[in-house]
């Protein structure tokens, strides 16, 4: 049996720059900046006090009425995924259990799920309230904690913070009873989940899969960890909106954003048969890693050049066929330089000629949430034949020869490539093709 083809029919994004693919795309084309002073908690004593926040965000409006109570046991990462899933299914005109309909667009057992997640931080106020009931002479007392302190935590406390709960809530809300995976691969998570989802459809293990990722590191522990890694822009000498500058000569560290993106992937024939709007096809995937990723202080792209090369081979295309590049662009100077070199290694001259873009300037780094959003943007680039601007890109950094622009550009794009990498040294790349009937 020939491999089945994989269509993308729905996009759900929750980002600081826009919630929903329409608002996000509009904001990106307009070059809007969404990074600002952190308001979710008091960051005044952190070296970096800016971030890309979701303002007034709650998943409550994205779940069926009878599921609203469950929002209380969702960490912010889970809420983002739940909202993105609702947006993605709606965008694809996909009928799921959430609508209360008796019949879903595909059988429940043929609907899969694969959502990338990060290390979810427990709410320090919630845990602190419980911990501070268990003190002896001003110090934490394990005996008191075991006897009674822990009962101050809600019985479901643990379930708020398990990374697979992003997928679990989504499968429950939408009635997805097919294979369900949760990839925790740092910033590469989104590309790895979409690649895996496409494989699952190809081999006939599911007819449709919701895939991508979501994360929020905009909390004290997330900010602390990224600060300790030395990856954040901490000079405070620039307006917050202009701080995150991927591949720009002024790149001097990243900014933490929060958000996620989920895509609906479907068997192409099934999507055509139901008259779905088909944005694009997934035609290639590759994953790779850098054995040097163990040294978390040393910059790495996770052998991104290998991942892109594998994806090209998988798609059966040459570098010259690539019409647009959606890069990862963390804006950490050493990472940008390595990433630009990796694109050149994988694509040769095309790395400098194909129009490229990075979205971090508009919203900061979304970690496990990044890949899904980057792929949604790549899909829109193909669908509208337009490469969005790279916010805060003005003058290329030394050695960064990607063809970026501060303005949107129309282009003839048959294939778009997007890739990402993360701390620990894993990378993933996906090739998308323009859809023609």
């Amino acid at each position: 049996m020939a491999d089945r083809r994989v269509a993308i029919t729905g996009l759900g994004v929750v980002t600081p720059a826009g919630v929903g693919i329409g608002p996000l795309w509009e904001a990106l084309l307009a070059g809007g900046q969404s990074v600002g002073e952190i308001s979710l908690f008091d960051a005044s004593k952190f070296p970096c006090r800016i971030g890309g926040e979701l303002t007034d965000f709650s998943a409550r409006g994205y779940v069926p009425k009878d599921y609203r109570k469950a929002v209380k046991v969702m960490a912010r990462d889970i809420e983002i995924a739940v909202a993105a899933a609702d947006l993605a299914f709606r965008d694809s005109s996909f009928v799921t259990r959430a609508s209360g309909a008796l019949e879903m667009t595909v059988e429940p057992g043929r609907l899969g799920c694969n959502i990338g997640a990060g290390l979810i931080c427990s709410d320090l106020d919630e845990l602190g309230s419980a911990v501070n009931t268990s003190l002896t002479d001003g110090k934490f007392d394990m005996g008191a904690w075991g006897r009674s302190g822990m009962t101050n935590l809600t019985p479901l406390w643990l379930l708020k913070y398990l990374p697979n709960m992003l997928a679990c809530h989504v499968t429950i809300i939408h009635g997805a009873e097919g294979p369900s995976n949760t990839i925790t691969g740092g910033d590469a998570s989104g590309h790895l989940t979409v690649g895996e989802a496409a494989r699952l459809i190809e081999r006939g293990g599911a007819d449709a899969v919701i895939a991508g990722g979501a994360e929020s590191k905009l909390n004290a522990m997330g900010l602390l960890r990224q600060s300790l890694l030395g990856r954040l822009r901490s000079d405070g000498a620039i307006r917050p909106g202009e701080a995150c500058r991927p591949f720009d000569a002024g790149h001097a560290g990243t900014v933490i954003g929060e958000g996620g993106g989920l895509l609906i992937l479907e068997d192409l024939r099934g999507a055509e048969a139901r008259g779905a709007r088909i944005y694009a096809e997934v035609v290639g995937f590759g994953g790779a890693c850098d054995p040097g990723g163990i040294d978390v202080k040393a910059p790495t792209t996770g052998s991104l050049d290998l991942a892109v090369g594998k994806a090209l081979d998988d798609a059966g295309i040459e570098p010259k066929d690539v019409g647009a590049i959606i890069a990862h662009g963390t804006a950490v100077a050493a990472e940008d330089n390595l990433e630009a070199a990796a694109w050149s290694k994988a694509l040769g001259q095309t790395a400098q000629t194909a129009p490229a873009a990075a979205i971090t300037g508009a919203m900061g780094s979304l970690f496990a949430g990044a890949g899904g959003v980057e792929l949604a943007v790549a899909v829109m680039a193909l669908h509208t034949q337009t490469v969005p601007p790279t916010v805060n890109f003005a003058r290329p950094a030394d050695g960064c020869h990607l063809n970026l622009s501060s303005r949107p550009r129309g282009a003839e794009i048959e294939y778009a490539v997007s890739a990402a990498f993360g701390i620990g040294g894993q990378s993933g790349a996906c090739i998308l093709r323009r859809y023609r009937k």
Binding site: D125, P155, E177
Partner: protein, 428 residues
């Protein structure tokens, strides 16, 4: 077109019953229990005071250069030991013909343990007037917290350590689907080999949740056994008197590779991965579907993938956690899949002696399936005394049993409803 066959050529494990495959197997066949009073922290006042700890294990001597992994967390150290064992057994260590960009790693590893003392003392020392003073917290945190302790908690860091140890440049994944993670990792790793994305792949899982907040979390869920006076027999899968699972820790790693490559290089083939199935309950985050529909679908899809019928299965390594719900639901699901034959297919739970290794459970249990095939012997469900009318299958109670074993099924069901099943066989 025939698909590529996937074989197992190396296995390693570090768990509460042993620090390698053979000693673990001997302990299981001696019906031993790895469960005792918790020593990793003072759990004496907790609802559950015991667990299945890995005892007396250190990285020195396990890997050629332990210094390189000095920042590795507890579960990562287990994984490194297990991985080196598996790698050496596979013979890939001395094999020059493996392109490292076609060597992958696909783990089901848990998160690393929190820096408990520092993390908790910060919550106390920065607490002012009933709330956390974030300014005070930040100042203290930057003074006390360590970069590596923090970053190593990300669950993909075990992948990074194994990639460094073996020079992996191919696809690298970590799945974290709670108690099903390493079964899912092995299944997906097999798919990578089958499709030709890699020639060989390092897979399995690692986890340790035996720390104060881990036990707190499970105690609050009332998922753990509280049989504090009968510690050694507390894990009672399928027994009428079961009252929860026993938290364990450890790591198990397997090397999967393309059958043709294994043959070509003359590797010893331990078993073949025939099939993989996955499903979601899509029911509730706290409970399994009481009808076991998700578990049933997972087993059926693995059978279909393997091209097997229920009649081909000689033994089932059960998820068998020892919670009221899991064991009755799993029994129901096995009956749904196997029909009249259900009573004739022996199934047992390694968790009765090993405890529940959470993300590392499935990989450890799959290793026992491979050994059951090799030695023609079924590991028992220990601590089985009182039959439960809802659990009325053949659980291989208390003592190992000789049997002709060609094909085994191994189940793992994760908290939140992610279900996975593997089928392995002797290599034909």
């Amino acid at each position: 077109m025939s698909r590529r066959r996937v074989v197992i050529t190396g296995m390693g494990t570090v768990n509460p019953l042993g620090h390698d495959v053979e000693s673990t197997w001997r302990a299981m066949l001696a019906s031993a229990s790895g469960i005792a009073k918790t020593t990793l922290f003072d759990a004496s006042s907790f609802p559950t005071t015991f667990s299945a700890e890995v005892k007396g294990y250190g990285l020195a001597g396990q890997v050629p250069d332990a210094h390189r992994h000095r920042h590795a967390g507890r579960h990562c150290r287990f994984a490194l030991g297990a991985a080196v064992q598996a790698w050496r057994e596979s013979g890939l260590e001395g094999f020059q013909g493996l392109d490292r960009s076609r060597l992958g790693v696909y783990l089901g590893s848990g998160e690393g343990s929190l820096d408990f003392d520092n993390f908790t003392s910060l919550l106390v020392d920065a607490w002012r007037d009933g709330r956390l003073d974030m300014a005070a917290w930040a100042e203290l945190a930057f003074a006390r917290m360590d970069l590596h302790r923090e970053v190593e908690q990300e669950s993909n860091m075990v992948v990074a350590h194994l990639a460094a140890e073996f020079g992996v440049r191919g696809p690298a994944f970590n799945v974290l689907t709670a108690c099903a993670a390493s079964t899912q990792a092995i299944g997906e790793a097999a798919m990578q080999v089958r499709r030709g994305d890699v020639d060989a792949i390092i897979t399995g899982g690692a986890h340790s949740m035996i720390h104060p907040y881990g036990v707190t979390g499970f105690n609050r869920l009332t998922a753990l056994s509280v049989r504090n006076d009968e510690v050694g027999t507390a894990s009672r899968p399928f027994d009428m008197t079961r009252d929860g699972f026993v938290l364990g820790e450890g790591a198990s790693i397997l090397i999967l590779e393309d059958y043709d490559l294994a043959r070509r290089r003359g590797a010893k083939i331990l078993a073949e991965v025939l099939g993989y199935g996955a499903s979601a309950d899509a029911f509730r985050i706290t409970d399994q579907d009481p009808q076991g529909a998700g578990a049933t679908a997972s087993m059926r899809s693995a059978l279909a993938d393997a091209g097997c019928s229920p009649a081909d299965i000689d033994y089932i390594s059960a998820h068998g956690t020892g919670t009221k719900q899991n064991d009755s639901v799993e029994t129901k699901a096995v009956k749904a899949v196997f029909g009249k034959r259900a009573g004739e297919v022996p199934l047992s739970s390694a968790k009765s002696g090993l405890g529940h290794l959470i993300a590392a459970a499935g990989a450890t249990e799959l290793i026992t399936c491979v050994l059951a095939i090799r030695d023609g012997i079924l590991p028992p469900t220990i601590n089985y005394r009182t039959p439960d009318p809802e659990c009325d299958l053949d659980y291989v109670p208390n003592t190992p049993r000789k049997a002709k074993v060609k094909v085994c099924m191994s189940n793992s069901f994760g908290f939140g409803g992610q279900n996975n099943t593997l089928i392995v066989s002797a290599c034909r």
